[in-house]
Amino acid sequence: EAGVAQSPRYKIIEKRQSVAFWCNPISGHATLYWYQQILGQGPKLLIQFQNNGVVDDSQLPKDRFSAERLKGVDSTLKIQPAKLEDSAVYLCASRLGLTSYEQYFGPGTRLTVT
């Protein structure tokens, strides 16, 4: 079974530029999460989708971050414009459904904002 795919793996941009990350969850997984992991910290949830609907985006900085999962499969997270403090690893995870235990994580995208 293929795991959660993310691209790109690494991205370096200057502040005020835009960037987009892509995630393809495990086939059939209805729940998709985006986490932000700042160096030396644990991951923090940015947004959670159930199929193509948003369940929780309470910690998403909506003035600069946006995410979509239009067909309920893959998802895109965008930052526009980026700030220095956005430097982090962005992790995508998926789960089969609301009653399943395990979240499966992708390898992450390491973003450096200079």
Binding site: Q103, P107, G108
Partner: protein
């Protein structure tokens, strides 16, 4: 809001020996799940073990076991017979049992170093 605290930034263990990682959490809920995740240097998070709060029996997965103290809100991970491949960041995580809002809340992590 739930919080998860890991007080040990780094732990070192000799190969084949045992190491215990600490985790405390704060919640007002009575039913929830606790997890330990491993994050090797390649960054892909892997589930190590989980514990349901309603279960009194501590979970065990091969060389990994937990000590779940619900009243004390403590959830430690014991790694027995440590191997070089156990070197990684370990994160303790909490999740509500409610169907909605079932995100993971992570602690700050503990880095485990394994000495040959």
């Amino acid at each position: 809001a739930q919080t998860v605290t890991q007080s040990q930034p780094e732990m070192s263990v000799q190969e084949a020996e045992t190491v215990t990682l600490s985790c405390t959490y704060d919640t007002s809920e009575s039913d929830y799940y606790l997890f330990w995740y491993k994050q090797p240097p390649s960054r892909q998070m892997i589930l190590v073990i989980r514990q349901e709060a309603y279960k009194q029996q501590n979970a065990t997965e091969n060389r990994f076991s937990v000590n779940f103290q619900k009243a004390a809100k403590s959830f430690s991970l014991k790694i027995s017979d440590s191997q070089l491949g156990d070197a990684a960041m370990y994160f303790c995580a909490y999740r509500t049992s409610k169907a909605a809002g079932n995100k993971l809340t992570f602690g700050g992590g503990t880095r485990v170093l394994v000495k040959p």
